[in-house]
């Protein structure tokens, strides 16, 4: 069968294995050489790709729910959308959610995903109490911060390279409403948006859309959106079906037109540049792109990649300005990028966030793109930053090693536990980890 990640690049031939019980998986691992877990395939690059993949989607059972504590134990193929639909009516929501709900619990752990509240709540795995994982020899190990702490730190953010996560026990947060009270602010440039991010540090959620084509004084022209859970309102689960679907691969130029108009609408409508307290649904606030099913096809059949970097806070202003300048003059990137201020980093070996600013933008696959991204990589490294593995499809080994100083501990565990013989993705092969 053909498989690919969210970026539709690369597309490869693979054998897929689907299973429902741990015995079936155990049996498969015994007779297979190398493989990698594949959840919902929402990672953009090649971290879930190999010529043999283990599909987790049939592991879609919820095993326990403590309705007093809001603690749920589910199998790793359960999606975040399923958790929300099931428990939001009872007043529980994910403690941390990324910008799409169509990912699995296993994928959320493996990428240690972050959301708009990273500065307050940290990564997804901060809300993980424990998980079960199957190791190369087929044994199942229960993992938390006390038992098998090394395996815990390696697996959270470990991109599926330590084993197949089977179950995840997760703490949800209580909410009083399925709405968010949102404030939107217009920011003329990078200084202004940085200043506002820091001023709104005590607000739970914050993120900005930034115009990557702005130049000179206007570099960093953006719209900052901050929000809190509303204190009243209904708890109805969100609508089930995405409203619009992109049925086939779109010619690439359409997306820029679409995003330009959305941005301009937000940016120029705001007068005097500030709108406070509007009530929006969780779906609108957290998952705007989920409303367009398969929006990734909008980039056309050659696919695209998302470039997500983070820079330490002290180096962020200088570094981001340099990067945005390069992007604006190259004219290759998407019009819009996402900007966010992260809180402190955790001690998982390969988790992406560190305290500082992160920028994410899409690049349609095109000639000259990879050499251009190599130039950006150099700026990122010079400023002490790194790239997000779950978005990556092309970084070189030295970029990885320099960005993730704890790679050695990760590597040691992988060698010691024979994980290198069993769990590899095209990404891990490229990065030689």
């Amino acid at each position: 069968m053909e498989i690919t990640g969210w970026g539709n690049y690369p597309v490869i031939q693979a054998d897929g294995f689907s299973f429902e019980t741990t015995d079936q998986l155990n049996h498969f691992l015994k007779k297979t050489d190398t493989c990698i877990a594949y959840g919902m395939g929402r990672s953009y690059g090649d971290s879930a790709l190999n010529h043999r993949v283990v599909f987790s989607r049939r592991l879609d059972k919820i095993l326990d729910f403590d309705s007093k504590q809001g603690v749920v134990t589910c199998e790793s193929g359960v999606t975040l959308a399923d958790i929300i639909n099931t428990y939001l009516p009872g007043g529980w929501f994910l403690t941390v959610t990324p910008g799409t709900k169509f990912i699995t619990a296993g994928g959320a752990v493996a990428s240690d995903v972050h959301g708009k509240n990273h500065h307050k709540a940290g990564c997804f795995c901060e809300s993980v109490i424990c998980f079960d994982i199957m190791l190369p020899d087929g044994s199942i190990v229960a993992c938390n911060r006390e038992n098998n702490p090394d395996l815990f730190r390696a697996t959270c953010g470990g991109m599926g390279l330590t084993g197949i996560i089977l179950t995840v026990t997760l703490k949800l947060q209580p909410v009083k409403s399925s709405n968010i009270r949102e404030t939107i602010m217009r920011c003329q440039n990078l200084d202004v948006v940085f200043d506002l991010f820091e001023r709104y540090e005590s607000t739970t959620y914050s993120v900005a859309w930034i115009d990557c084509q702005a130049k000179g004084e206007n570099i960093g022209r953006s719209v900052l959106m901050v929000g809190e859970h509303a204190d009243s309102g209904n708890l109805a689960p969100p609508a089930v079906k995405p409203s619009i679907s992109i049925p086939f691969n779109f010619p690439g130029f359409c997306l820029n037109r679409y995003s330009i108009s959305v941005f301009n609408h937000l940016y120029f409508r705001k007068n005097p540049g500030y709108e406070s307290g509007r009530i929006v649904s969780l779906d609108t606030f957290f998952y705007p792109l989920d409303a367009i099913d398969m929006w990734n096809r909008i980039y056309g059949k050659n696919g695209f990649t998302q470039y997500q970097l983070v820079l330490p806070k002290a180096a962020s202003l200088k570094g981001l300005r340099a990067i945005l300048e390069k992007i604006a003059s190259a004219g290759m990137g998407s019009f819009l990028a996402v900007l966010k201020l992260f809180g402190r980093e955790n001690d998982n070996y390969l988790s992406f966030p560190m305290e500082g600013y992160t920028l994410a933008l899409d690049f349609k696959m095109q000639p000259g793109l990879f050499p251009f991204l190599d130039i950006l990589d150099a700026i990122v490294l010079d400023h002490g930053g790194r790239l997000y593995l779950t978005k990556d499809v092309r970084m070189k080994r030295d970029v990885f090693i320099n960005g993730y100083p704890r790679w050695k501990e990760f590597e040691r565990l992988r060698t010691q536990e024979h994980m290198k013989d069993k769990f590899n993705s095209l990404q891990s092969i490229r990065l030689e980890i």
């Binding site: 689907s18 429902e20 019980t21 015995d23 049939r58 059972k61 919820i62 095993l63 326990d64 729910f65 309705s67 749920v72 134990t73 589910c74 099931t86």
Partner: protein, 243 residues
């Protein structure tokens, strides 16, 4: 309300269990062979819907156990959903009667054996409903799956007769005729993507039809028309086609 799901490990059965637990807040008996898997599905229902669910061991082809199996259910179910089934391998079934026999027994004989016991009890109590899952494969014999198809055809006829008998006692019998559904039964087959139903979609259709007390439903809906055409192709032409 208490519901009995026969063949509860089927992917469609699980989707139906969830739908009924969610909408009707009913307690469930989940009956099937693989108990480890069944325990997991029981936990799934309980964790999601705050209803009770019990796993019970049941083998459709172990006919002599059926009476005991049903007698031990306490309280008795208010409704039953029959979902077990076995597709088998047509070529193998042509060559080896043991395969054909398993197909016929697991789809048809098992259904007759257990449903007669349940129908008797419902009739005595004067209440209850039965939802039986047959297949569009039973609508016309085709070379690619006529052994399975004939067993399902028998199930459809059987359910029709049962409906006729029990309607006098206000007991509703509904026949479900699915087309292609994306389940473990079909995971290794190459089927036309556009015609596939997700288990959840089938469960929605079945629940809606149950509420409306429909007699016979196709899922997805367009199978009604596909099968109308297929049933009406004249035999002299049909026999020369490869379907």
């Amino acid at each position: 309300m208490k519901l009995l799901i026969l063949g509860a490990n089927s992917d469609v059965a699980h989707a139906i269990s969830k739908k009924f637990a969610k909408e009707k807040k009913c307690d469930l008996y989940l009956a099937s062979r693989d108990m480890a898997l069944l325990e997991k599905k029981t936990r799934d229902i309980k964790a999601r819907y705050d209803v009770d669910a019990t796993a019970v061991s049941f083998d459709a082809v172990d006919y002599s156990s059926h009476k005991d199996f049903y007698e031990r259910l306490d309280p008795k179910p208010d409704g039953v959903i029959l979902a077990f089934g076995y597709l088998g391998d047509q070529i193998k079934a042509q060559e080896k009667f043991s395969e054909a026999k398993t197909v016929i027994e697991s789809n048809y004989m098992g259904a007759v054996s257990i449903l007669e016991i349940i129908a008797g009890d419902f009739e005595k109590r004067g209440s209850g409903f039965i939802i039986g899952i047959s297949s569009v494969a039973g609508d016309r014999g085709r070379q690619s799956n006529y052994i399975y198809g004939s067993a399902k055809g028998a199930v459809s006829l059987y359910l029709g007769g049962l409906r006729n008998r029990l309607s006098k006692k206000n007991i509703h019998v509904m026949t479900v005729l699915p087309g292609f559904m994306r389940t473990k039964m079909t995971q290794n087959l190459e089927l036309p993507e556009k015609l596939m139903a997700e288990p959840d979609e089938a469960a929605e259709d079945i629940y809606r039809a149950y509420k409306k007390k429909r007699n016979i439903i196709y899922t997805k809906w367009f199978w009604k028309y596909i099968m109308l055409i297929i049933r009406n192709i004249p035999e002299p032409i049909f026999k020369r086609m490869s379907m």
